[in-house]
Amino acid sequence: MQQDQSSAPLRRVQPARRRWPWPLDLYQSAVGKKWAMAVTGVMLLGFVFFHMLGNLKVYLGPAQINHYGEWLRDIAVPALPRTVFLWLLRCGLIAAFAVHMHAAYALTRMNHRARPTKYASERDYVAANFASRTMRWTGIIVILFLFFHLADLTWGSLNPHFVRGNVYHNMAYSFSRVPVAAIYIVANLALAVHIFHGAWSLFASLGVSNPKLVAFRRRFAVGFASIILLGNISFPIAVQAHIIEDHGSTPYHAPTEQGR
């Protein structure tokens, strides 16, 4: 490569790379990492959306939501044994989270190397918004919240009254604790902010460049983030407002052969 004659020599943020085998060579590049983040982002958006949608069943009463919880374990039975499909989904999600986070981490490191010195004067941002500038923080909040959420409502380790299989009871109890409800609301705000910038920028990362979509992208991002936010924070609010109350619900039991 050509050398310049300046007294201030160029520095590389990363060395010229050794080429990895396909398709890892795509992921090796930052544009490829962004693409991977967009693809995994779409998967995670899908998860968040259907998770929220399923949970809306709580408004239909304990039987409905608990039945839904059991059904998730029964998908694709009898082609697959019970819970296998659910685990496949979970593995996919875990992988998506892993890739999404690894790419975010690697790109953040790269960006810090690319811009090591701050401006001495205060930056006057014109286009960058709160969401775009706080992606890494909202992302960290979301991942911490995810573990709290699993511990609270999946593993039950943070929920002294946890009853396996009784989704309605667990939710109602958990959200009745004010600090827990507050954590859910704050975390979902962070999630919505994260989703807002993510849902907008994923089109760019994927290279969807039809000018007809320009206006749609923004509306999609605002709409999607708002739906997720409203749906998700409605649960703790509904519990706190006593719209959802547990009056002795029981886990769903599949009707026996005789019962049918």
């Binding site: 490569m1 050509q2 310049d4 004659q5 300046s6 007294s7 201030a8």
Partner: protein, 639 residues
């Protein structure tokens, strides 16, 4: 005396170039790597020449004082590039472009060169389109053209108001490709401060690294200079701030003849200066004259704002005096006409130093959208600078120094009087005579770079097969380096009180007042003595702070202004000796009763090639007679 051999090939003018291409010697591909060529300057001519020579397989070293080749001042050309494509079917042809150029140049150019230029213009457009230059298109997808000052056909290809930028980016991309391929080695931030000549041949250059101050020699078989024009000798011009004459002046001092320095083009449509802090003048593309109408109030010193002056009290002086061409007369004619109005006291604007360029009729006729599409970026630029909206208020314009037709004398092969030293683009004197037509500079730069130098330089090299270049540690290089170092040190150690800019501004004022749009014997003699006096002041009272081993912008400027002083003296002498008016050179003693330029073909139909005779000595005049076999000498008329 130098022997000036224009080396124009024999044969009919239409076949000269083809015949010459066949007769020139070739270098076999496997031998090309053995030849080293230095190209100084990376604008249209230099960038294209370096890229093309590299592509052919020669070892090329390209030098620019910028940080990137893409910043050369070719980038600022706005209007367009001429080519005899006749896509409009409006009667254009190679012959007509040739004719227009010779006539527009007021019969002071070499016919054979101009004919070749017109022939090559066609190839340039092909080349640039293939490179991805986004020229303006019609809705059918074919190339669009527009008409331009001084012609009656539509042959100007353009890319909005940024044609120079797009063409330079094309040449730059070709250069970048060769740099990546290792055929061209690029030396950025390296200012050429001397040409080295040994045994009568150019054998290398000395450059100074502008960041580290290091002075380094580079040897080669041939040297190409494409370092642009010297308009900044006037301080205020449309040239970029760093544009300078040092490369050509250093070559001149080493023996290259400098031809016709007095042919300086004053561009009619620039934004008038607004105050003494003005650092440069901004051009508004000449294409504006296609739709804008130029006028001044009939009344002297009319204090009314332009929109309150009724039609009946406006003088559309170009339309009145030149009914055939109207607002589209060539640049020199339009400029002098504006000067006449302003000098008569009918100037407009706060300093009464402009004329109006009015788009009111055009907006009414074509609608604001069309005008916006054609000139939107220019209007925006005007508004940024003046804080006035040209859609509402007429623009104020005034002529400013723009282009220099003079330059190093070159033969048909673009070789100067020093064998092995080639000169391309604005730096040479070859194609425009005494006045350049609009949209012809880009054409000439690219023709030289892509299509002329890549043939003529190898023709010279072929004779040197088997010879190694003179090594860069030869005593002749050492001596040149020492001289450059001395000169640099001298600026730093003068220890006076006046800044470089201050002295340069004063030089520019002397030049503009006495050697600008109108020149007289008295004024020129005064200028010559004033320049000499100011030069003494420069040597005695210059203040350059800092050191020579870091980036020191004042020091860079000092060297350039130093060379401008010497060039200014020669420019005035050339203007003084040329007792006629032609193109960009207007002597008040030589005008018709109507105030038009009066040529003297009997005594001055020659190119004046000045030879350097040593510091302080009177330069020696050499004459290359110009013969006009194909275009008949005639008084230009644009009525």
């Amino acid at each position: 005396m130098i022997h000036l051999d224009p080396a124009v090939p024999d044969g009919p003018i239409e076949q000269k170039w083809d015949q010459h291409k066949f007769e020139m010697k070739l270098v076999a591909p496997h031998n090309r790597r053995r030849f080293e060529v230095i190209v100084v300057g990376t604008g249209l001519a230099g960038g294209a020449a370096a890229a093309t020579l590299g592509e052919l397989g020669y070892k090329v070293k390209a030098f620019t004082f910028h940080d990137s080749p893409r910043r050369a001042h070719s980038i600022a050309a706005q209007g367009g590039i001429n080519a005899a494509k006749n896509y409009r079917g409006d009667g254009d042809s190679v012959q007509r472009l040739f004719y227009d150029t010779v006539k527009g140049g007021d019969f002071r150019a070499r016919e054979a060169n101009v004919y070749r230029l017109a022939q090559l213009s066609v190839n340039i457009i092909d080349q640039c389109v293939a490179q991805g230059v986004p020229f303006a298109r019609e809705y059918g997808g074919l190339l669009d053209t527009r008409s331009f000052g001084g012609t009656q056909v539509s042959r100007t290809f353009y890319a909005r108001g940024q044609t120079g930028q797009q063409l330079l980016l094309g040449a730059y991309s070709a250069l970048a490709r060769q740099v990546e391929a290792g055929n061209v080695e690029l030396f950025d931030r390296s200012e050429m401060l001397d040409v080295v000549v040994k045994d009568g041949r150019a054998c290398g250059i000395v450059v100074r690294n502008l960041h580290t101050g290091q002075i380094v020699s580079h040897a080669a078989h041939a040297v190409v200079l494409a370092t642009g024009g010297y308009g900044n000798v006037f301080y205020l011009s449309t040239n970029a701030k760093a544009s300078n004459a040092s490369a050509i002046w250093r070559a001149h001092r080493k023996g290259a003849a400098l031809a016709n320095p007095c042919y300086t083009q004053i561009h009619p449509t620039c934004i008038p200066a607004s105050d003494e802090f003005q650092s440069k003048l901004t051009l508004m593309s000449e294409s504006l004259r296609n739709d804008g109408r130029i006028w001044v109030p009939e009344e002297f010193g009319d204090p009314r704002p332009p929109n309150q002056i009724p039609e009946s009290e406006r003088d559309y002086y170009l339309e009145r005096r030149y009914p055939a061409f109207g607002n589209l007369v060539p640049r020199d004619v339009a400029s002098r006409a504006a000067k006449r109005e302003v000098d008569a006291g009918r100037g407009v604007g706060p300093l009464k130093n402009g004329v109006y360029l009015d788009f009111k009729t055009a907006v009414e006729r074509l609608g604001r959208n069309t005008i916006e599409e054609r000139y939107g970026n220019l209007f925006e630029m005007y508004e940024r600078i003046t804080d006035e909206d040209p859609y509402q208020v007429p623009m104020r314009i005034y002529p400013a120094v723009h282009y220099t037709m003079g330059g190093l004398w070159v033969d048909y092969n673009l070789m100067s009087t020093i064998p092995g030293l080639f000169v391309g683009g604005e730096a040479n004197f070859s194609d425009h005579g005494a006045n350049r037509l609009g949209a012809s500079a880009l054409m000439q730069g690219l023709a030289d770079g892509y299509f002329v130098l890549p043939y003529t330089v190898p023709n010279y090299l072929a004779g040197m097969l088997g010879q190694a270049p003179i090594p860069a540690d030869d005593p002749v290089f050492r001596a040149a380096e020492a001289e450059v170092a001395d000169r640099t040190q001298r600026y730093l150690s003068t220890g006076g009180t006046r800044s470089v800019d201050d002295l340069h501004r004063e030089l520019g004022k002397i030049m503009w007042d006495n050697c600008g749009m109108a020149r007289s014997r008295e004024g020129l003699e005064k200028a010559i003595s004033e320049i000499a006096a100011l030069r003494v002041e420069f040597d005695r009272d210059l203040r350059v702070l800092g050191s020579a081993d870091t980036l020191n912008q004042s020091l860079e400027k000092a060297g350039r202004v130093d060379d401008f002083f010497e060039l200014a003296g020669l420019l005035c002498r050339d203007a003084l000796h040329r007792e006629e008016s032609c193109g960009g050179h207007f002597r008040v003693e030589h005008q018709t009763e109507e105030g038009e330029a009066l040529r003297d073909d009997d005594h001055f139909a020659y190119a004046a090639a000045w030879e350097y005779a040593g510091p302080g000595a009177e330069p020696i005049l050499n004459k290359e007679p110009l013969e006009f076999d194909h275009v008949h000498l005639a008084q230009r008329s644009y009525k």
